[in-house]
Symmetry: C2
């Protein structure tokens, strides 16, 4: 057996003992210490830089250049523990205090939650009416239960004392699931005034937990955090790889821990034991990891999940620290890449109930698009790429403190920007990137292909990867180094926006519609909420439609999960939406490849598609 | 905290540490050491005699006489540990090697078990047929499942690997329960040739486990043992008392241990993991204790169980060491004193499907009687008392080695007897008692009231409790002391047989029938099998009907449980039988009290009811 060595992480001071030879990255994951990584510890993304003191060894093939190594910071994934070490994790290698989208249009005036509580006055038994306790309670519940309900042995064990504590007055909590029912909880007396549930959005990057009062429909409290799985890779594919390489249990533990931490955050005045239902929306991979289901086949053609509609389960089985018998509803998904989060978006948008044609775009770590109305729905997913969340962009970062989130480019290419938290700049987040590229394009500094024009200005300079635009000089940044936007960065952003637009265009065309027929565009996802609509249209990310047709929904997955928790009808609609949505696989779709290629320009090859943009652009 | 002291039990040598002040009886229960007790450690039955050496203390009120105490053996329930002690448990204080009834008419030529195994050839997924694994398997299973089935998360977690191990050939095990189904297990390839299940009879005294091949219907192996709960009291009432006084968890553990020991006995060539269903029949209290349900209210008027028809559960929840997801079917009961064992008896007898009027008598530790046909069923229970199982009879014992099980009384009151195992006599079991009393009555030594006539013979002598009959002189017994039958013993046997006969008579009368209308009498229960029919009729235990109408079923509860395991139709019939049986509560029934009083004679007050007996009796 390998010798053990102690690793101390700073500034948190957390320590862990690991086998000699373990990478610092793995040690950080095990210790639960936050450390950025896009690639999941494969030495590809360069995001896990740390400073190390003590007994360590660099891998022979270390992804950093000699020059970078001389600065004294190394990639944690290519540095191995040999003896006691102290590891300093700089701010730039953690997500920081993030802005996580928790706002959503939930609201439900007359809740009719799937988890029903009914106060019963059960007639006490006599020699002539000698039904057993359970059968007596079921008789009192009457036909509201579908057939004999399922119940856990533990609930049955509690029943006789519960019945007799308040002289056969009791409250039953139950839920119908499909053709049967489940008796969730029995309590003495009338507790119908208390019915709490959790709506949970498990995103690849962020997790949001919302405590709802299911009696009034009110939001009690909302809490959000980064998904602790981030340390195992930032996108869905690197998580699947991590799971396939023996990390499934770790990933499950990390997301359950994230949720449980948020549960204790929201359960301030409400004991977690009083939370007796939960509804979870997430993309298919996130749901797999949450349930400990092997996601490997989602990555491989033909992209098959273990389940799109996982069977009902309890909080106990799921590992959630609420009432152990609380039913946990998983919003059903449609495919490996159109998951329950999109179903929840659709339910929250209401597009599945309206006659008019609507488009729904969820811009998260992945991009998903749904088109349809009350008659039909068609959905697809595109690997939008992580550009809008800080990936594949040299100074890209998530919407956290120090991120440039707004920027205005003047006609002289002077720049006004503001950062999240008003601190010195640390990088550029998604909305900042769109503002910058839109501004540079409109002011003529970028051509249609996203290349810098030669404008003889100090702001555009040659860099290691072609030309680059200086967004913030070293004097304005946290570490004294200039923040720049490179042509490679712009190419990646254009690929991302092109994929999203092409996906929408393919859906519209394949259904024999035109983009201008779309009466409503619902924008969901953390990123969408901070978007400047005009600028997003000017780079061709969103279609050029009348602005009043756009609806920024905020966190649609959370809103949809909350609706399913509050309303039996919404929960039933979610099942119907997932069942009747036609899934279009774009990875093998020739029309998509063609649309994508046409979209790899600012705003598009076909300028007629963006009539409002052309007049704004200063000709080069 | 009380000091701890070590107790060593001999001859087993088992030791346990208990708090000073603990009774030896409690220490034996905790240590799992076999020790007789009818009353459950209350100092009433005098069956837990032991010899003690070391540091102990007798309770001030010790139930034994000074004379008995001087022999050096004390009651374990009234002797407390003060320091290290050694406790010798004589043979006479253990059940010994018993005869447990495991024979039953099971047999099922064409099994159609509730637990179905289906081999599936699932079409592998393609881009055009991209259903998820679970939905794909459910589609292949088709409409044989009722709606979306329940399945455990663990089963779902296994599914992707199972599907792909044999190229999408797999076997699904599932069971319908009510309006829904449960997917129990998924395996690669075709395993339909292997389908094993357990039929289990949990009796108050004995537990029988039978392993069945559900494909062929064959019995693979049967094993039986005394219910380890015996050390906590021998009858249902003393078990309920023990449970009510904080002993529920202990009782549950003891019966689950008993079953699991027998499971490993029957699973010799079949791995216990391959046993994927079980069906359990037991009286209502035994089922409560097995499931950890508080039985207290069964003892109190109006005698209400927690559940007569417990919800479906898994082996994992039940604590059975077979496949953890194996469904455990509990044969439903009718009331606190007519349990699932009686339902199983009825199913095994087939009386619920025949036009002719039939009577079913289950003589176990309790007595239950059912009357009916294919149109109606009426059932009741009577506290028959433990006389036939050795309780309330001075030299009574269970049908174990050394028990007098057959006896013939000659006209000179000379006695021929034989013991179980052919050993020296240790006591008298139920069938021996009936033979003796019948013989003494027929030969004129007993009057109708069960009192000894003054016959001036050496065999009848005065004793401490009235006259007594010497069954075996000290020279023929294990401990050198004579085995006798007292008038008090005979009174207790008469009370027991009177209760059973009166119960049957009340059912027959209340339905407007006459005893001679009964076309079939099914006798179930361990005791019934060893019964001499003519002698049982001569004392008035069984009605005086043509002998060919009697059917000795053996262990009907086991047979019924096996049928429910082998046949979906039988399982459905069991539910119907329990639901449509009318329960008659005898404890408040005036007609029963009157019938009981009339039956407290040999064979009955009304000799016309026993026409075949009178000619045989030598007039006194």
């Amino acid at each position: 057996m390998a010798a053990k060595a102690k690793v101390t992480f700073l500034p948190s001071g957390r320590t862990i003992e690991v086998a000699s030879g373990t990478t610092l990255y793995k040690a950080a994951v095990e210790a639960g210490v936050e450390l950025n990584s896009v690639c999941g510890g494969k030495g590809k993304c360069g995001k896990c830089r740390v400073q190390v003191h003590g007994n360590y060894e660099l891998d022979h093939i270390h992804p950093l250049t000699r020059e970078e190594l001389e600065t004294g910071s190394f990639l944690a994934c290519a540095t191995r523990v040999r003896g006691e070490v102290r590891v300093f994790i700089p701010d730039t290698s953690t997500a920081g205090k993030g802005q996580i989208l928790t706002t959503c249009k939930a609201a439900c005036r007359r809740p009719d939650p799937p988890l029903r509580k009914v106060a019963l006055t059960v007639p006490p038994p006599t020699l002539n009416d000698n039904l057993a306790d359970l059968e007596r309670v079921l008789r009192a519940l009457g036909p509201s239960l579908a057939g004999d309900p399922h119940l856990e042995l533990g609930t049955l064990q509690e029943l006789p004392a519960v019945l007799r504590k308040r002289n056969f007055h009791m409250t039953a909590s139950y839920m119908r699931c499909g053709s049967s029912s489940r008796l969730v909880r029995v309590e003495p007396g009338d507790t119908t005034a208390v019915n709490f549930g959790l709506a949970i959005d498990i995103g690849t990057t962020t997790v949001v937990v919302q405590l709802l009062n299911l009696r009034t429909g009110a939001v009690v409290r909302t809490a959000a955090a980064y998904n602790r799985q981030i340390s195992c890779g930032e996108d869905v594919i690197s998580r699947i790889d991590y799971a396939s390489e023996g990390g499934l249990a770790t990933l499950r533990k990390l997301v359950v821990e994230t949720i449980n931490m948020l549960v204790s955050d929201v359960c301030v005045n409400v004991p977690a034991q009083e939370v007796t239902s939960a509804c979870i929306a997430g993309n298919t991979t996130m749901i797999h990891l949450f349930l400990g289901l092997d996601p490997s086949n989602i990555k491989l053609e033909p992209y098959i999940p273990v389940a799109n509609n996982p069977p009902p389960l309890t909080a106990r089985a799921a590992g959630l620290r609420i009432h152990p018998e609380a039913p946990v509803i998983i919003v059903p998904g449609r495919s490996g890449y159109v998951g329950g989060d999109i179903t929840a978006d659709v339910v929250a948008s209401g597009m599945h109930k309206r006659k008019e044609l609507a488009l729904l775009i969820d811009v998260g770590t992945n991009g998903e698009v749904v088109l349809g109305n009350d008659q039909w729905l068609v959905g697809c997913s595109c690997s939008a790429g992580p550009a809008f969340e800080g990936g594949e962009v040299r100074f890209g970062m998530r919407a956290a403190e120090g991120a440039i989130e707004r920027a205005t480019v003047s006609d002289k290419l002077w720049l006004n920007y503001c950062t999240i938290g008003g601190t010195v700049a640390r990088g550029i987040c998604g909305s900042g990137l769109i503002d910058l590229i839109s501004g540079l394009f409109v002011e003529g500094a970028l051509d249609k292909a996203g290349r810098f024009r030669d404008l003889h200005t100090d702001s555009i300079r040659p860099g290691t990867e072609g030309k680059e635009f200086v967004v913030a000089p070293g004097s304005e940044t946290a570490n004294g180094k200039a923040i720049v936007l490179t042509e490679a960065d712009i190419r990646n952003v254009i690929r991302t926006k092109a994929a999203l637009y092409a996906a929408a265009a393919v859906l519209v065309n394949s259904m024999g519609q035109k983009m201008e027929d779309v009466q409503k565009v619902h924008i969901c996802g953390g990123f969408g909420n901070y978007l400047n609509m005009d600028k997003a249209i000017s780079i061709g990310l969103l279609p050029d439609l009348p602005r009043k047709r756009f609806d920024f929904m905020g966190n649609g997955a959370l809103a949809g999960a909350a609706q399913c928790l509050l309303s039996r009808r919404s929960a039933a609609e979610a099942s119907q939406v997932a069942a009747r949505m036609t899934y279009m696989e774009l990875s093998v779709n020739a029309a998509f490849m063609s649309e994508f290629t046409s979209s790899l320009f600012l705003p598009h090859t076909d300028e007629k598609l963006f009539p409002s943009v052309h007049p704004l652009v200063r000709s080069g």
